[in-house]
Structure formats: structure tokens, C-alpha cells
Symmetry: C2
Subunit: 403 residues, 2 copies
Amino acid sequence: MHNAPPRPDTDRFLADLGDLRRIGAFRTGNHRPTYSPADMEARRWLLARLAEAGLDATIDGIGNVLGRHPGPGPKLLAGSHLETQNQAGWLDGALGVVAALELARGGLPVDVVAFADEEGHYGSFLGSRSFTGLLEEPEIDAARNRYDGTPLRDALAAASLAGLPRLALEEGRYRAFLEMHIEQGTSLESQGMQAGVVTGIVAIWQYRITVEGQQDHAGGTTMAERRDAGLAAVRLLAEIDAEFPRHCGERTVWTTGRIALEPGAPSIIPGRAEILFQFRDIDPATLDRLDGVLRRAVAESNRRERCTARLEVMSQSRPAPCDPAVQDALAAAAEALVPGGWQRMPSGAGHDAQYLARRMPSGMLFVPSIGGISHHWTEDTRPEDLAAGMRVLFEGARRLLAG
Amino acid sequence: MHNAPPRPDTDRFLADLGDLRRIGAFRTGNHRPTYSPADMEARRWLLARLAEAGLDATIDGIGNVLGRHPGPGPKLLAGSHLETQNQAGWLDGALGVVAALELARGGLPVDVVAFADEEGHYGSFLGSRSFTGLLEEPEIDAARNRYDGTPLRDALAAASLAGLPRLALEEGRYRAFLEMHIEQGTSLESQGMQAGVVTGIVAIWQYRITVEGQQDHAGGTTMAERRDAGLAAVRLLAEIDAEFPRHCGERTVWTTGRIALEPGAPSIIPGRAEILFQFRDIDPATLDRLDGVLRRAVAESNRRERCTARLEVMSQSRPAPCDPAVQDALAAAAEALVPGGWQRMPSGAGHDAQYLARRMPSGMLFVPSIGGISHHWTEDTRPEDLAAGMRVLFEGARRLLAG
């Protein structure tokens, strides 16, 4: 397609990001819920750009957009998603799609993909799961919009996607999958770094802990007589706070997102407490070890307290390690272009790459997020960081294709 | 009024309690909100019983019912309240009123009182505060029903109480005030005891603690970067749990009734936590000491954590110690009638006696509550415990008058 040596045009890349930002604009961000008119306009915009770039562009029955490179030889797949969370940022997803477009347009044999509904308006990673063979028709039949209850089938019909075939990953076509994304944290920014080579996408193990005690009058019940579910919950969480740092991995995170006491009145001893607790890590052994620490803490609470704590697994996803060779190619590119200004790091949030990683070598490149802001219209990244990330991704892709 | 030596008729006492139980019956309990038709019927029932007993009976402009003993010499005042919480028990309040009636009817020089709205449908201890000179007209003008917003003035008019003068405590008339009440806890029941000589009514010191952190994505923010308001709250509460037992009194109670994390989602680091915390004790020095422990714990949290905890006093009531001589008279009566089956104990809940105690020597006698149940229609006490309590109260009153 090109005679000039492959290279990215970062001005064109930034201009395309700016064009996309105008579709479904919300303040300085975007509001493009999956299959909404704005989302579909963004998909059509991408189809046009892919065709202009000489790719064979198509949209499928779940809304995935794929631009296939017509040339022979080994190829990469690259991309991310186009829809946004409600009233959210302009880069989450869009960045990875436009960067993939620039890889192809800059002269690399790259197929460009925009997966549908990574943001989960209707389901969980519908597009990337469909593409990798992990989405069955009955799930599509049953899925509804999580905000307004619209059936997924109705939304697909309204978006003129009903009846289109669903694209499937072509076995053996790709050497690797690449996804560029904003960090959604402050790790790069706080160290003044421009790129993060992702080691993998963490698993999230989410639990609900319910503590049953005895609701009583706070004045009439002595401390010895009490079965205070709230106090038992606090002691259990303090135990977790003491034990997890002794057993966690270097980048493990754990979070108590909710503590709810019933009935929640000032003069009533809580009869019941509910805790939502999760941890995230990339290493299966660490996940198993922390699950054991949690179970021991609950068992110890049940030996110690006059309340009963019950641990319930809500979900335990799998970690998705990034391919070592893909990591090394991106790391070499980063060291060449932003020497000392990059690090390896896990992704604490989920991405389409975690499903692609089940089918082929996959990797991700992070750029800094200003203030770590994510899923909010103020989300942003400095243009020079976007451009630097684009150059690193391009060079990494070039090395992977050359390797 | 009597020639026979004074003595209580416990069958008559239990029969009267049974009669009162039929007024505003709700399942096995009562629904007599303040100034409701059922409540006013109960007040008229009492006026009739007081008159039958030869007392000079009257109702005042706030709904207080007073039966004045016509004889000369030193007197006691005894009573409690007649209205109930919504759909609540048959003994809370009624027991103390009917027991006072039996003191007078059994031949002791006792004035019988039923204070209005101890249960706080319209205000806080309206009747006993009115009687002791602690309720001003502007407060009556402003008060409204806490459930339906009816102005207190309208309720007084509907109950034909508007315009009646308010009775005031007659200085020097009484040697002491006595109030018999159910325990509303399980302390007596669990030890198989029949009577509790109340040492005082605890003060309640109620606080709100707000912890301000930084709301962030649970996946994108490392443990070191976090400002987790929920975790800071747990650590503060664990510190209170460790420190309070070292500084509390023998019968101090402390309660965290609410912990609320915002936004309360599984994958979001809480940016804000609110805690409702209170402690109760009868001893001012203990209250001050625990206030200091709490303030130190909050200050330590603010030194240690990257979140800011703010302590706010919501209310700090005064403890109302019971008069030692009144306690001793009741204790001697209890030891004579239920030897070994009684104890001294604080009242963890508020009672009319706490306002009377500001104006004269006051005391309370508790009888057991089955299962500690209170403010619920299943509230109950065994008849033999009610009768034993009546005999102890009577003997205690006799000793006080003889002393």
C-alpha cells in the first residue's frame, strides 16, 4: 500500500482523535452509549476511515467493526472500542481504535478492530467475546440495557445490525493483538513516565460477606450481651487490613467498596452487616493465596465473635497475562523512544485484550491519564503523551512484524 | 384514707394493668400515640381510677395527669407515662403509672402522675419537662408530630387540652420521685433476677464522624496512591474498639449504629465515609474521659491516614444519677422481698425520672423484660415478676416515707 518506509503521522492521529471527539460530544468528553445514534455514527466514521486507508471494512451483527488489510504475509490485529460510558471521556476506547488505524495508515500490515460494548451497557465485553467465540445466541436473546432495560435484540434492530453475521477471529491470521489505552490511574503520571507496557490484565475476585448478629437497643444491652454485627464486621476488616499486606503481590489491590449496617440508626445495635470486598492481581498463585487469607480471616471471626460471618463469591475472573514477546517488543520500542520514561505494569481494569489473549499473543500499551481520572468527561491525556504513545506502539508493532 | 396497715394488692395491680391493655390494643401490645383517641381514653381511665382512690385528679394543658393525695405530711410522687410508641408494648410507661396508683391505693401518701409524650411523638419528654419547668411556650408553638407533621397546638386542641393551665411541680411537697419500669434489656432476665435498683439514667453522647478521602477506580489506583475513606474509617473504629475497654466504666456501652461509604460500589474506592458513634454512661468523669479517648483516636487517624476525619458532636445529654437514699430504700426493700434476686444497675434508656431528678431525690425500679424486647408489641414481663416488683416498690416507698 505504501512505498515510503512505514511511519506514523502523529498529527493525523491527533486530528482523527479530535474528529471522533465531536461525535456525541458531552462537555469536553463524549456520551456514546452502545448502539446509540452517536455510537453508530462513530462506527460509520470508522468504516469510512478504514476504507480510505485501503482496508476491507465491515460491521457485523454485534456491532464489531473490522478493517482487514488486503496484503499478504503476517499481520497484527489492533484496536479497542468506540462506545463510551455515559457522559464519559474522549479517549477510553477511542484512543486504541484510532491508534490501530494509524498503524495501518502508517504502512504496517495491521487489521483494525473496534469491539462493541466493552463498556457493558448491554453485557460483558460483548464484542470481543463474540469475535473470540465466547458469546452464544441465548445470551444475546436475554441481554438488556443495564440502565433502561431495552432488550439487546431491539437495540441491534434499531441500529440496523440485526441479521448481519457475526465476525469470528480467523485462526492463524495474526501474529499478535495490540491495544493502546489510557492508564486510568496515576502511576505513570506520578513518576513522570510516558508509557506503560502492560504485563497482564488482573483478575477481579469479588466477594460479599454478610455478618448476622442480633439487633438490640443500644441503651439496654451491655457490651457482654451484645451480638453486634457491625463491630464484628469492623474487626474482620481490620484483620484483613493487617493480613493482606503480608501475603499480597507487589501490585495487588484490595478494596472494601461497601459496608452497610442494618438498620443503621444511631441507638440501635446493628443486627446485620454487609460488606463488598474484592482483590485484584495478575498472578493465579497470589489470587489463591489471598482467597485463603480471606477464608481464614472469616473462619477466625466465626471462632472469635458471637456473630456469624458468611463469605460468598460473587465473581472470580481469570487473569490475562500479556505475551512476553509482545511485552518485550513494546518495551524495546519504549526504551528506544522514551528512554527511562516507561515501566512495565499490570492493568487493574478490564479490557478487550483479556479475551483476545485467550486466542493469540496479546499486549497493551498505556499512556498517562491526567489526575488518573477515568469514566468521567474530564478524563484527559496531554497531546505529547498521546503522540509519544503512538510512536512507541508503532515501533513495537514494527518490531513484532519484523521478528 | 385507710385504717388497715398499708400494703399493695398485687391482684388489683395486675387487673388494672390488664384493663389499660385493652385501650388501644394492638395484637398483644398497644398503639396509643400521644394525644390520639386511645391515649386520651387511657388518660380519662386514669383520672377515674385516681378519683376512685380518693385522690384529687386533674389533667393539664400538656396532657399530664396528676392525682394529688389529700392528706397532710410528707409525700412521694410516683408515675411514668401512658402513651406508647407506635404498635408497641403494653408495659412501657403504663407499668409505672399503675404501680404508682397501687402505692396510693395501698395506703401510702403518694401523688400519682402520668407525664405526656415521654415517647417523643411531638417532642422530647414534653410532660416531665413541662412539670419541672423546662418547657417554654415557643417550643410548644413550634413542635410537630414526627410522623405526620401535625402541629402540637392542633393536637392539643383536638384533644381538648388547649387553654388548660400547665401543672408545675410544687416545691417542697415531695420527699422523692419513684418510677417503676421494664428493663428493656436482658440483664435481669439473664441472671434470673426480679428487680433492678437503678443507679441513674445514663447520658448519651452522640457523634458523627466523617472521613474525607478520594474516590477512585479500584483497579487503576495502587494501594500506596489511595486515599480510601472506608479503610480509614475501619482503622479508626478498630482503634476505638481497642481503646474504649481500657478507659470505660463498668457499665459503659458504646455503639457504632451506622457506617456508610460513598458511593458504595464494589469497584470504587470510597471517597467519603460517615460513622454514627455514641457512648452512654452515668458518670460525668467517664463521659469526659471517653470523649478524650475518641478525640485522640480521631487526631491519631489524622496523623496516620491520608484521609481527614472530622468529629462532630450531635448531642451530649447529662447523666441523671438516682438519689443514694432512694436507691438504698429500694435496695433494702429488694433484699427483704427478693433476697439475692436483685442488683443495682444503670438505665441505658431515657425516662421521665431524668428530669424529675433535677428537682428532687429520684429513683427507679426495673423489672425484667422477657428476651429484652422493647418498643415492639411482643414486649412482656412475667406476672410474678410484675407482682414482685410492685411489692418491692411499695416497701421501698414505705421505707422512704418512714425514714
